[in-house]
């Protein structure tokens, strides 16, 4: 901006106050007003996200046992799944809304990396929870889209939502051998981890190493157990994802407000200098005009 100012002193156009190539007072004023408005919006978004984050974090605490408990069963029973089997299922779990940092793109990146590593002859289907990832995945893997859920992220997720998603996957009749769920695990206010949680099919559980240790299991019990386990995992993913999203949006909006504040300071300086330059120029014109008489 200093270079512009020095240019305005050297270039003399007596009649008009507009110099091509330099922002006029009016332009700077318009820009200043618009950036101030944006800063107000990002500040209010940050406060709304902070409130939603507080609630999401509180609700995450009872939801963690659903994920950890189910996973600990899979660990103790040594359930594994074979990724060379033909049918794969990928569940991508984020939300509908943007302006939340890298939440959606990190999940899509992880999914793309997994798909690139898949062996040939494997066909996979994608279940998309949240519109933001649906757009990207639809463009890249059009034939593999299976189901997509929207209206995610407006209200805190409930167990009913999770069981609806689990029910849809089960009732679709798609017999998958290898399943993974990609979501963001909340680590702290400023960080989250994009994680791949294995979703074991009924067959994988039934052929688990240590399942014979478990007493009195018949087919019905195993089926019901698996259905509830899927709903639990989906619920856990939804809750962690919601918490990560709100904290990430809070951080992103705070960064945006700070940047907008810096822009406002710089623009204000430019505005003042430009204003002073205009006044100085007018004075010089008047004086030189009067001296010519």
């Amino acid at each position: 901006m200093e270079a512009v100012f020095s240019r305005s002193v050297q270039i003399f156009t007596p009649t008009c106050t507009h110099v091509r190539g330099m922002a006029t007072l009016k332009d700077i004023r318009i820009r200043l007003k618009s950036v101030t408005n944006i800063q107000k919006i990002t500040k209010s978004m940050k406060m709304v996200s902070a409130a939603k984050y507080a609630r999401a974090e509180r609700e995450l605490r009872p939801a963690r046992p659903y994920g950890k408990g189910t996973q600990s069963f899979y660990d103790r029973a040594e359930v594994t799944q074979d990724d060379s089997k033909p049918n794969h299922l990928i569940v991508s779990m984020t939300s509908d809304r943007g302006l939340c940092g890298g939440i959606h793109s990190n999940v899509v990146k992880a999914i793309k990396a997994e798909i690139a590593e898949k062996k040939p002859g494997v066909n996979f289907k994608i279940v998309c929870i949240g519109d933001k990832t649906k757009l990207v995945l639809q463009r890249l893997f059009n034939q593999n889209m299976f189901y997509s859920f929207n209206n995610v992220g407006k209200t805190p997720p409930t167990f009913a939502d999770a069981s609806f998603i689990a029910k849809t996957i089960m009732e679709s009749g798609y017999k998958y051998d290898f399943g993974t769920m990609y979501f963001n695990v909340f680590k702290s206010v400023v960080s989250y981890n994009t994680t791949a949680q294995p979703i074991f099919s009924e067959e994988s559980v039934a052929t688990a190493e240590k399942l014979t240790l478990y007493d009195s299991i018949d087919e019905d019990v195993l089926k019901s157990y698996n259905e509830f386990a899927l709903a639990s995992l989906v619920y856990y993913g939804l809750k962690e994802g919601a918490c990560s999203e709100q904290s990430s949006r809070m951080t992103a909006m705070e960064g945006a407000s700070k940047n907008a504040g810096e822009m406002i300071d710089k623009l204000q300086m430019t505005y003042n200098r430009t204003r002073q330059a205009v006044i100085t120029r007018e004075l010089i014109e008047i004086i030189s005009g009067a001296a010519a008489l």
Binding site: E59, P62, P65, G69, S72, F73, A77, S216, V221, A229
Partner: protein, 159 residues
């Protein structure tokens, strides 16, 4: 030692007897009981848990045989270490007992029994009875049946 473990594996009820025979210290059960709204216990040490499952109600003590079970509407009774007994009504869910004696009871919905409203239960029971009688499709009948059983369990829990 291996004989004792073999016994516990074959019959969970023997777990209590073998514990009395052996001179080991009291085994611990890492108990997690959670509902979506509230995590009542997280890796807590409790003495015994009675759960209502589809294959019948049973009690879980430390060193129980690993097992999986499905919860049916009923009361989960927790006998805590200090001797107090807490009751929670659950609407359904999962029970996992792992071989390291950790027990997870994940409920779809769980509330302490003293928070149940008797009048609301009576009204709900009458309404679900009506729905069951007037249900036409298979799906509606199954849903009404589930709701009726749940209300029955609720009213039994209050007794």
């Amino acid at each position: 030692m291996s004989v004792l473990r073999h016994l516990t594996r074959t019959n969970g009820l023997l777990a209590k007897v073998t514990r009395e025979i052996s001179k080991r210290s009291y085994a611990d059960m890492s108990f997690t009981f959670s509902s979506p709204g509230n995590a009542y216990y997280q890796n807590a040490n409790v003495k015994q848990v009675d759960v209502p499952s589809l294959s019948g109600s049973f009690g879980i003590l430390p060193e129980h045989v690993p097992s999986l079970a499905v919860l049916k509407p009923g009361v989960v009774t927790v006998f805590e270490e200090d001797g107090s007994v807490k009751k929670y009504f659950v609407s359904g869910g999962n029970i996992t007992i792992n071989d390291d004696s950790s027990v997870q009871v994940l409920a779809e919905e769980a509330h302490p029994v003293d928070r149940l409203d008797a009048q609301a239960i009576r009204d709900g029971l009458a309404k679900s009875q009506q729905e069951l009688n007037s249900a036409t499709t298979e799906l509606a009948k199954a849903q009404a049946q589930i709701s009726f059983e749940c209300y029955e369990a609720l009213s039994k829990a209050l007794e």
